[in-house]
Symmetry: C2
Subunit: 320 residues, 2 copies
Amino acid sequence: MVGLNAIREARSRLAGHITRTRLEASAGFSRMSGHSVYLKPENLQKTGAFKIRGATNHILQIDPALGRRGVIAASSGNHGQAVAHAAARAGYPAVVVVPEGASAVKVAAARGYGAEVIYHGTTSAERAALAGELARERGLTFIHPFDDPWVIAGQGTVGLEILEDLPEVDLVLAPVGGGGLIAGIAVAIKESRPGTLVYGVEPVGGNSMQRSLQAGAIATIEQPRSVADGLLPTRPGEITFELARKYVDGVLTVTDAEIVAAVVTLLERARLVVEPSGAATVAALLSGKVPGSGRRLVAVLSGGNVDLGLLADIIRGRDA
Amino acid sequence: MVGLNAIREARSRLAGHITRTRLEASAGFSRMSGHSVYLKPENLQKTGAFKIRGATNHILQIDPALGRRGVIAASSGNHGQAVAHAAARAGYPAVVVVPEGASAVKVAAARGYGAEVIYHGTTSAERAALAGELARERGLTFIHPFDDPWVIAGQGTVGLEILEDLPEVDLVLAPVGGGGLIAGIAVAIKESRPGTLVYGVEPVGGNSMQRSLQAGAIATIEQPRSVADGLLPTRPGEITFELARKYVDGVLTVTDAEIVAAVVTLLERARLVVEPSGAATVAALLSGKVPGSGRRLVAVLSGGNVDLGLLADIIRGRDA
């Protein structure tokens, strides 16, 4: 499992490698929600998402002899970019396996950091299988996007930073995909300040963590669907599920319409570009799903890598 | 004139009233420009623009008996919102004179802060005349958008913050409309660290400061035109011109196409919503107009209040 010490170590290891994002108090979102709202803008993080924290924390603790053989990730999105970036900084080669038809922008970003990009299949299972094979054949270190103690500890540094900037925080909201971010944050918060509530947010069409917690065992969704493309693994990880079960107070769900409205409101009121997955927390907040009122509340904006064409469609959709 | 002491006083006066924005180092813009680039994101400032600094600095030093009679601004844009917000915080009434056909979003924002909004005429001269009349009739204090020592000193706090965060800064780029921002920044920087260069940036269709500096006297442009609607006064102010003549190293000009490209690149790479006027500095940087290379350079992003429909058009224009 992952404890507070692992997250503190990650904090030291990451110093100078990541951006120390600051909480932004938001008078507008406070007025709209009835809470006292602070945003944690990980869309302003290096590579545009929190994923750089976990990827860097894993890669920096690899034995250099092993690291020089290279690292590998299976990801069409922010984790792939993060691994490519962290490996480049460490001077290690990186391979990123992406689905056929992956976004040209994201592939270009990974290549821009010097990674070898391999197109393969269409499902995450196919990509993971190839990544596993290549890892064995070439002696590469596989970096899992969420179910990995170093990755979880790295994401948990978000929680430590929140406590540093707002020690009296009442409630933290974070998006849930495979669960790495929520698990890391929950350990950091609950082991430091048990009275603070930690809620996850999932899309209604991809609520595998919510279902797993309700069932008391990992539940699988065959075809998760949502505009929040970073929150669509078919199931949470083994480690992330256990940590969520122990530490997370609940998981809220949001519709695509609520997510899209949150993306627009963030553009207009916070002047921030936040991808749909990253705006799920604000979607929960603005749709009145966060319990209570008047709470000192932090909404984690997990990333800002969104195709600008989609962003224009979202803006236009609002006008329609 | 305005000196360093007035800016230091403004700094103390504004503490707790504005957001202390932080420089964001940008690896991407550094790579693209050949400089070592830091962004000063005043789009994340309260009310979405630096204007709150000057407006608040003026309003907070008014004698309260006078303040309670009210303040007035003539502005269709960020200055009007800033005056409305600063007056509301001080507990003073505010009147904002806007042109007929002013953006509904901006009018709603001023009203949201409790200001009385008066639609009048279409030119800034007509608005200024009415504001002057109302000021006399009702005993209101007129807050000029730029040619006012308190306003200039308030905007100059941007310069002090830059020096605090990056003491070894080589060059600062700021957009120029009426000149309040560039004048304040130039005083702060040149009186603290004379070797640092300070450049203004104007649209080619609204380069009244550049022409004035070249002519050695205030020059007027009858019909300034640019997508950067915050940079279109017909002439610089008397005070701002004198300060610019004394302290500013030069004014660069950018085309609308360069501005639009900068807005898009800021959305995509910096995940920031920056209005065209606010993106002029990055436009100068990315079009290779900033002299030298390898400089520790700060680009001020002056604001982020842009109609989302225009933003969608800008994104789509890029695809076309």
